[in-house]
Amino acid sequence: MSDKKIRVVIAKPGLDGHDRGAKVIARALRDAGMEIIYTGLRQTPEQIVTTAIQEDADAVGISVLSGAHQFYFKRVIDLLKEKNASDILVFGGGVIPEDDIPGLLDMGAGAIFGPGTPTSTAIEWLEKAVPART
């Protein structure tokens, strides 16, 4: 009798700023019944990927404020591939310019939620995308 739960690592890489946005999404996902592994500030892409693997996460949510999103997403997605873990979904939020979103999706990000996106959008996406992944 299986009782599977969606597990999501929420990471806020980089040296800049605060993790308010990351905490808001963490709480919203928890309230939707998910298990959130919260890693706090200043994680390197290597640490984020190791955490996702040890935690057997279904998805990694990356919150970026610094404008260095291209770098972080690429590095996390590449490392997941390298470690044979590209079935772990990557999504993101924070301050990401509209114009950059297609590039991130091409890179392999599953979804990018720009500023002002209601948390329910992320919840709905995870509830669909997690069971559907291979």
Binding site: K5, R27, R30, G33, E35, I36, I37, Q47, A85
Partner: protein, 308 residues
């Protein structure tokens, strides 16, 4: 051996992590995997770190990891946080304080939600210990919040239990008299940089007086987890307990009690699955009949069980 168990015992972190999830989720086939792993268990030293919320358990665990790693031991950590009783969701944040070990391949850390285990240790925790043991970790540390059943349960998985107290929680000692005293092999008064630590130590000593004459009498010590003060002494005392239980009758009895509850847990889980199944087909109909007083709950239970 199946490839997943083989990969995990061969050091594949993804496979280990997956096995723990399967145990947590009670996925199909996980019992067979556990059977494959079991012969590889029995080597690890399991340490339970329990205590009230915010007592400094994770910070202390971080320092214990550092200490064991400096001695060359590999370390697995299972850090349990409460789940919401309403949604089943959880924010697992213990890792935050141990993050610096993430890049160390000799450390495996896993966060677990308590899930619906009624305050007791979740299935993921109980099986996670065996999985990490089978995968060769020398030391397995379990961090649990000491509420209700979980602190009693931690005795059933840990070889050595360390109860973490802090100054300024007067009720702690009262609660201890009511039972925590029986759980700890060692008592730590953390945040000893704050005033009142000596008083807590004295109070604990007072309660421990009652245990005089036992084979193992727990000791109390002070730590400042934040800067590592007292940690070497803590490790020395933990190890003393470990050595004691490896050669004493009490240690053997504890192991037998643990195996007994393990086997009973497995049986209860299977029985409870069976109860669930017995009743799924006709549940609505039977409930309605009882509601209308055409049947009574006793007769229904009797009838369902007679078909089991």
């Amino acid at each position: 051996m199946s490839t997943l168990a083989e990969r995990a015992t061969g050091g594949d972190v993804r496979a280990m992590a997956r096995l723990i999830s399967m145990a947590e989720d009670r996925a199909d086939g996980v019992d067979a995997l556990m059977r494959e792993l079991y012969p590889h268990t029995g080597r690890a030293w399991t340490i339970g770190v329990t205590g009230s919320p915010g007592a400094g358990k994770s910070t202390l665990t971080d320092k214990l990891i550092e200490h064991f790693r400096s001695e060359g031991s590999t370390v697995g950590v299972l850090a349990v946080d409460p789940s919401s009783p309403y949604t089943g969701g959880a924010i697992l944040a213990d890792r935050l304080r141990m993050q610096r070990h993430t890049d160390d391949a000799g450390v495996f850390m896993r966060s677990l939600g308590a899930r619906g285990s009624l305050g007791g240790l979740s299935r993921g925790t109980r099986e996670g210990v065996l999985i990490l043991d089978a995968c060769g970790y020398d030391v397995v540390i379990i961090e649990t919040v000491g509420v209700g059943q979980s602190e009693i349960d931690v005795m059933r998985v840990a070889d050595t239990v360390c109860v973490v107290l802090v100054p300024g929680l007067g009720d702690d000692i009262q609660a201890m008299k009511a039972g925590i005293m029986e759980i700890g092999d060692l008592f730590v008064v953390n945040k000893a940089d704050r005033s009142g630590a000596d008083r807590v130590v004295n109070e604990v000593r007072g309660v421990l007086e009652f245990l005089k004459g036992r084979e193992w009498v727990p000791t109390v010590l002070q730590t400042v987890a934040e800067n590592g003060e007292g940690v070497p002494e803590l490790v020395r005392l933990l190890r003393l307990h470990r050595e004691h239980s490896l050669k004493s009758e009490a240690g053997r009895e504890r192991e037998l009690a643990r195996l007994r509850s393990k086997i009973e847990d497995i049986m209860l889980e299977r029985l409870s699955d069976r109860v669930e199944k017995l009743w799924t087909v006709r549940r609505e109909e039977l409930l309605e009949a009882v509601r209308e007083r055409k049947l009574d709950p006793y007769a229904v239970a009797e009838e369902l069980l007679s078909k089991a």
